[in-house]
Symmetry: C2
Subunit: 323 residues, 2 copies
């Protein structure tokens, strides 16, 4: 298969978004929007850094790469509309496997009516995928990390650490309870797009998606909003079968385990009931995990442990460039 026929093979037959004016097939794609702000994010994943073939099928790789990007758009309170994919393909990947990556992306894209409108295919010595996602949001309705305020309730969606538990199961053969659940959470994460959009009636809300673990994401909110945050370990929501793993693993995964793609947010106490009601309607679990304690230029995040001790919780997310 040459580049031209490959590009034809991954093109959608039609576009789901009426706002697409020209999709794939020219120097650039064209779209039109009405009276909305545009939100855009871009990321890159590399084989054997972000994923490995022994734990992820090509389909999962595509699905999850797009899920991570849709999660960024959800964390802005925006509705994802399009994505562009650049891929560098090494010789040891077959074109059938590469196509499965695109099928994984397309299956997720279909759920959210998101269109593939462009990209690039090149050759290299390792598989690298870069996705750009574009979404829309009402004017000035974007949910920023800087929107947290003193006395806000800090919450997260669903449960934390599942993705790392799934990754652990895939790498350590053995018997596990509900292993399919944890593996699925690792390979096929669900971006919280509907929940984020349903929160629309709430005027002020701070949102961040959990890609590097809540330790890291809570610190990003604290820094951007210039506040201090107190998180209570006891309140951190975990799946009831996470307890089959060693305590130290549970602790690491729920606080620093990345790739859950859940949302962490803060909201004023008066709006917390509404957040809970919206979550209930969508059958999304939402849990209060702490409070924004004070305006603070030092922007610290504290963790109150189960034993009552309060300590600084630092980023400890995966930092790609530390040398």
């Amino acid at each position: 298969m040459d580049e031209f026929s490959f590009i034809k093979s991954i093109q959608q037959g039609s576009y789901r978004q009426p706002s697409v004016i020209h999709g794939i097939g020219d120097d650039a794609a064209v779209f039109r929007l009405h009276n909305q702000d545009v939100v855009t994010a871009k990321d890159m994943v590399v084989e054997n850094v972000h994923f490995a073939r022994n734990t992820m099928e090509p389909y999962h790789i595509g699905y999850k790469a797009l899920a991570a990007n849709l999660s960024d758009i959800a964390a802005m309170g925006a509705k994802p509309a399009y994505y562009l994919v650049a891929i560098s393909i090494p010789n040891n990947w077959s074109m059938e496997e590469i196509k499965m990556i695109y099928i994984g992306m397309n299956d997720l894209a279909q759920q959210y009516h998101v269109d593939l409108i462009g990209g690039d295919t090149v050759s290299g010595t390792e598989l690298v995928i870069s996705i750009t996602v574009i979404g829309f949001v009402g004017k000035d309705k974007v949910r920023l990390r800087s929107h947290a305020k003193e006395d806000d309730i800090v919450f997260v969606t669903e449960t934390l650490g599942d993705s790392q538990a799934g990754f652990y199961i895939l790498n350590h053969s053995g018997k596990y309870i509900e292993e399919d659940y944890f593996i699925r959470r690792h390979q096929l994460p669900s971006p919280r797009v509907e929940f984020s959009l349903a929160l629309h009636p709430i005027v002020r809300l701070c949102l961040n998606d959990i890609s590097d673990g809540i330790g890291s994401e809570a610190n990003e909110i604290a820094e951007a909003s210039q506040v201090s945050i107190l998180i209570e370990e006891e309140r951190l929501p975990v799946h009831h079968n996470l307890k089959q793993f060693e305590d130290s693993l549970q602790y690491k995964w729920k606080l620093f385990g990345g790739e859950d793609y859940e949302l962490i947010g803060t909201v004023s106490k008066k709006d917390w009931d509404q957040v809970q009601a919206i979550a209930e309607q969508l059958h999304i679990r939402v849990t209060k995990i702490g409070l924004v304690t004070s305006k603070s230029a030092t922007a610290e995040v504290y963790l109150k442990s189960k034993n009552g001790r309060i300590e600084r919780l630092d980023k400890k997310g995966y930092n790609h460039l530390s040398r």
Copy 2:
């Protein structure tokens, strides 16, 4: 330097585009536009496939990678506004070298008032850069490959093959006339943004940028517009000092030499004078190289050689996935 301080170091102090609402620093960037269409393109370059350190300084790598993307936006008749950069960094590149890549991009971006609004930095085993560029264009004013019509004049900007000549000089030590010129054309190409924007008064125009050689680009126009095109070899504009190279090299470079980032276009005969006048005002050379000869579903491109023979000119562009 860790990821966080690196991202801080490449952030612009302020944004050139008033339409940027939030740049780098959250899950996604946000922008707002008024009554215009949005154009977006994305590409990827890989070390030792698209560039090598022995012929390109880090500064050139960044400059040229962005130039290629701005050229795509120019080929749509649009005004570039923002770019996002994802980069995978191997261990054998220092952070100072990586910073020079961003400085190269920023110097070009500054010329066009284009803003870096997002991206990603990850680690890998080879240097990979993916740029997404976003531009604006008046509603329905986009210049598509499908806009060519029978009897149109086919033209190109400036001269062809210079980039490949520069690449040749960099790889074959020796004495060359105007070697700085050719090397500059290879390392620091100029996207034809101003020219494309100045063509705005012309209602119908077909544009494509020359990244893979005019053989390839003319075929793309023929296919998209369902027309046949005749190009006359004699008319192809080359630099007067290209003649210092072997005839066979000149021939290959002007027809199939990629990376010139000039524009190939077609325009009705009645508008050709205006195209020339606009080019003259901007001190851009523009040359008629042939004609759109007929409506044709077979979409063929022919080359009339200097000896008068007419033959099919096929794509022969660099095809990344041919195996």
